[in-house]
């Protein structure tokens, strides 16, 4: 059974009003490279339809958006689909529902190193050989303060084991 939750729809519209402008023409899906290779299994038009209807349990594959923004450029109604998908992902994360672990691993690296890819010893040597300057990364304590101010670790459930 589908759950209709207008609160979900209203929250999304509040965060991105352009959701209201969609008239379901499907231009987004025809411009989407992920829709193309999945033969329509990933369907941006449908995600927008479900969001407008407030079908909040129907958001399984929003993580498959490749964020290329082709749909946003081609949409005749100027719906910011990529941004709306980002807001849906934010909600999924905040609700504590599972999300792909690669995202959490990257967040963890940023918390611990300030960078998504920490500088390893071999790379530091390679940088030297190439005559590149030393990289002075962000102060981790300072970053931690900022991330605590936005409650990042709690919001993304950093300590919960993801699948």
């Amino acid at each position: 059974m589908q759950m209709v939750d207008f609160e979900f729809r209203n929250e999304l519209i509040k965060e991105d009003f352009s959701l209201n402008y969609c008239y379901q023409c499907g231009t987004c899906s025809s411009s989407c490279p992920v829709a193309f290779v999945t033969k329509g299994e990933f369907n941006p038009r449908k995600i927008i339809e479900q969001s407008l209807l407030g079908l909040k349990d129907q958001k399984p594959n929003v993580w498959l958006c490749c964020t290329c923004q082709m749909c946003v450029e081609e949409c005749p109604q100027k719906v910011f689909l990529t941004e709306i998908f980002e807001k849906i992902k934010n909600k999924i994360v905040l609700l504590g529902e599972p999300y792909p672990k690669t995202f959490k691993m990257q967040a963890k690296s940023i918390i611990e190193n300030g960078l998504a890819i920490p500088l390893t010893q071999p790379i530091i040597r390679r940088r030297d050989q190439l005559g590149l300057p030393k990289v002075e990364s962000a102060n981790i304590k300072e970053l931690k303060k900022l991330l605590d101010a936005t409650d990042f670790e709690k919001k993304i459930k950093i300590h919960e084991v993801s699948k």
Partner: protein, 289 residues
């Protein structure tokens, strides 16, 4: 106002040879770029930025503050970083309420975002200096057919990136032409390389890449060039896997546009670290010798 590099994560931490080519060509054309210490991840618009919008804004704004403090504009070596930083700036400069909220967060680390610096993708700056590049070309890359891959975050969302035509881009091809090489037209030029979706589904990511490679091969390209380290990795690291899965024989050397320009400017290949490429570039070097 002068420029300083925003290096991001992928280039300094995994592909430092791309940084070397960029630094060498900016030196060669006499465009001075400084270095900015203490930057963090931009954050990745396809990764951590998708988890929490407020943190995306706060981390991005902190990076922008560093450049404001040192009074430098940003020259970014990565399309993802460019998009993230331009997006944060766009949002904070156009929404006073959001700016206030984020500045309240930044207060805990003693920073305030003002909004008085500019952000540019390195290829944007190269394009602005295209005549200077042409003047300095010593070894035109004659008869080299190059498939230019502009990639997504270099162009879109156009409202924020505010640069080349988002659906019919020309700047990368013009930069290829400036090196003396021939940009090839191919069907899927404007499509994503597939890299961002690897985080959620590797099969989809590789399928997108395969369509793209097929289109480049049909167009008769000798090699690929791009302007983003995520795209670079997708093309250079994954062709062998594609060949196994799809029973194909792709073997396109992949260059950052800064590497092609460096070769055309006659910069010593030893200084470019070209031996770090996974798909070997020797055949191309012979072809243009």
């Amino acid at each position: 106002m002068s420029y300083s590099y925003f290096l991001g994560c992928v280039i300094p931490g995994r592909l430092p040879f791309l940084e070397a080519s960029a630094r060498r060509i900016f030196e060669k054309i006499g465009f001075k770029v400084g270095d900015q210490a203490k930057c963090s991840c931009c954050p990745d618009p396809t990764g951590a930025a998708q988890l929490d919008h407020e943190t995306f804004l706060a981390l991005g704004a902190r990076n922008l503050c560093l450049f404001e403090e040192s009074n430098n504009n940003i020259l970014s070596l990565c399309s993802g970083c460019t998009e993230s930083l331009k997006t944060v700036k766009h949002i904070l400069d156009n929404d006073d309420e959001k700016k206030k909220e984020i500045n309240l967060k930044l207060k805990v680390i003693g920073k305030t975002y003002k909004g008085d610096i500019d952000i540019k993708h390195f290829a944007e700056v190269l394009y602005e200096n295209i005549e200077k590049i042409k003047e300095k070309v010593k070894k035109p890359l004659k008869d080299l057919k190059v498939a230019g891959h502009p990639g997504c975050h270099y162009l879109r969302p156009s409202e924020i990136i505010n640069w080349d035509d988002p659906l019919n881009p020309k700047t990368l091809d013009e930069l290829i032409e400036a090196t003396g090489a021939d940009p090839v037209e191919y069907n899927l030029k404007n499509d994503c390389c597939g890299n961002p979706v690897e985080k959620s589904d590797k099969d989809i990511s590789l399928s997108i890449l395969e369509s793209k490679l097929k289109s480049m091969k049909e167009a008769g390209a000798d090699c690929i060039t791009c302007v983003c380290p995520a795209c670079y990795q997708q093309f250079d690291f994954n062709q062998r896997e594609i060949n196994k899965i799809f029973n194909t024989d792709y073997n396109f050397p992949v260059f950052y546009i800064t590497e092609l320009i460096a070769l055309a400017l006659g910069i010593d290949t030893e200084k470019l670290g070209l031996n770090s490429h996974r798909i070997k570039v020797n055949d191309i070097l012979q072809k243009i010798a």
